[in-house]
């Protein structure tokens, strides 16, 4: 960090912890890879430095996101929403790149920086947004797991217990590196939606037509606006900012690694966009044949069975389970990081349980509470699924303003302060998100005005 890199470290004793040793071991490997010349050295370095970007992007391809994409495909088929989803991932890329720079330059988490730089008043606002958003989203992850498992006849309690067991076992090593690789392996299953899409024998000419001229356009009505917001909320959300910055810090990235952090984020966005487009293509055959209102994952899989067979439908349901499990891991970790940063408690996946009791307790309790809620009979879970992506879009503009202020803060960013082009793109993203939110407000309060807008 530029601010007092030397002065802030105490002049007296330096305390070295196990967390530091684990991080130093990872960094020593990076140093060794940097000294290896040629393509092998570059490839090794890339392998060591990728992680947070791919995890955050595939993690955001979560239960409600995949349901949004599935609903989009089933409602509108192949058209406007295919390139639109790519656009949302470009927005995510612009935003997440800033968190890489911020984490690498300051070695501080996002919540910590907002609290310390702007004070607890604004810090608590951000934390409330994050806390509510994360908890509601966590609930929907377990809804997706339960719904996906329902396709295989697995009872809800067993599905939830399996998901929790996977989440907790990823933590057993108490090593960031191992946790990251285990979660990356699980996240790779997100790409299962691509073969599912291919099983539908897609209309390639319609797909290329959609990407070249964004047509056919959907009507500008309340449903379309809701799908626009859901698709944005499926890609750009506040937890992603907090998670990627904290993971960048926990991984130990420095300003020398920013280029690789960008590549990591780009690969993540590309893979996640491919999976999201896969879901839209996979569910496109359902367009105009079914009503997608309150549709759950298992029902999508069942509805797809006639066109893609039992194996294809099973893969779709498996993909939903995976999306829920991976996102429950990343989102509960994001909550635990933020809590530790704000409460000034140790917060790292490199911590042994004894040294990181509060960190692991928050992580495990958040997941357990969300999982428990899903099992309570009679709760309006559809309500949560409906609002979660929309709330994410609405909470994003204030979160982005804090991010913008931080990455332009020369005192903490030094030489990696945001360039003008990055600021311009970030400003455009804030404008787009705010405009989408206002459009949603108009569609809800004055649907006639929306019809007038559509006609003109």
């Amino acid at each position: 960090m530029s601010i007092g890199t030397h002065s802030r470290v105490p002049e007296g004793d330096v305390v070295v912890t196990h967390e530091d040793i684990d991080r130093a071991r990872d960094r020593a490997k990076v140093r060794a890879a940097r000294m290896t010349r040629g393509l092998r050295g570059r490839a090794w370095l890339l392998w060591l430095l990728i992680g947070p970007g791919i995890l955050v992007m595939l993690g955001e391809n979560d239960g409600p996101s995949m349901l949004s994409y599935a609903g989009t495909g089933a409602q509108y088929g192949l058209g406007f929403f295919l390139p639109f989803v790519v656009l949302t991932f470009v927005m995510a890329l612009i935003v997440q790149e800033m968190t890489v720079r911020l984490g690498a330059a300051t070695h501080r988490g996002h919540a910590e920086l907002i609290f310390e730089r702007f004070g607890p008043f604004w810090g608590w606002f951000s934390m409330i947004d994050l806390g509510i958003g994360n908890f509601l989203t966590l609930i929907t992850e377990f809804i997706a797991v339960r719904a996906g498992a329902g396709f295989f006849g697995i009872p809800p309690w067993a599905a939830i217990l399996i998901a929790l067991a996977i989440l907790y076992s990823a933590l057993l090593s108490h090593r960031y590196w191992t946790w990251e690789r285990v979660t990356l392996l699980a996240a790779a299953f997100n790409l299962i939606f691509i073969p599912v899409a291919l099983l539908t024998h897609p209309h390639w000419s319609a797909i290329s037509h959609a990407f070249t001229d964004w047509k056919p356009l959907p009507p500008l009505d309340k449903t379309t606006v809701l799908f626009i917001l859901s698709n944005i909320g499926a890609t750009v959300t506040p937890w992603m900012l907090f998670f990627q910055q904290s993971a960048t810090v926990d991984k130990g990235l420095t300003t020398r690694d920013i280029r690789f952090g960008r590549l990591d984020t780009f690969f993540g966005a590309a893979l996640a966009a491919a999976a999201a487009i896969g879901v839209i293509i996979a569910t496109a055959p359902l367009a105009h044949h079914i009503s997608t209102a309150n549709f759950e994952a298992a029902q999508f899989a069942q509805a797809l069975e006639p066109s893609i067979g039992h194996i294809g439908a099973a893969l779709f349901a498996l993909g939903m389970i995976e999306a829920g499990i991976v996102a429950s891991i990343t989102i509960s970790t994001s909550s635990a990081y933020a809590f530790g940063e704000v409460a000034r408690k140790p917060h790292s996946l490199n911590l042994p349980v004894g040294e990181g009791k509060s960190f692991y307790a928050v992580l495990c309790l958040c997941a357990a509470a969300a999982a428990g809620i899903v099992l309570i009979p009679g709760l309006p879970l559809v309500f949560v699924v409906l609002v979660v992506n929309v709330i994410a879009v609405l909470a994003m503009p204030p979160a982005l303003v804090f991010l913008y202020l931080l990455v332009n803060d020369k005192e903490i960013m030094g030489g990696v302060k945001s360039p003008h082009w990055a600021n311009l793109l970030a400003g455009l993203v804030v404008l787009l998100l705010t405009a989408a939110g206002i459009l949603y407000g108009i569609s809800a309060v004055a649907p006639n005005a929306l019809a007038w807008l559509g006609a003109h």
Partner: protein, 69 residues
């Protein structure tokens, strides 16, 4: 600057200090980042967006309540 470690050998401590940047040490993170005063325009923007979030959230909850009835 002297070195103190909790159940960590001198060799490990030396390795850590030579490998990590000073700000990457867990101990260094206990020291806060200096506060920055927000300017008038920044405060106005943050308040405007805060009002926007609260207002829009009320609409979302109202719409979701209607949808689930």
């Amino acid at each position: 600057m002297t070195e103190k470690h909790e159940h960590v050998s001198d060799a490990d401590a030396g390795f850590v200090l030579s490998t990590l940047e000073p700000d990457q040490l867990a101990e260094a993170k206990r020291i806060g980042v200096p506060r920055r005063r927000l300017r008038g325009g920044e405060l106005a923007l943050l308040w405007a967006l805060r009002i926007y979030v609260v207002f829009m959230l009320a609409i979302v909850l109202w719409q979701a309540w209607i949808a689930t009835r």
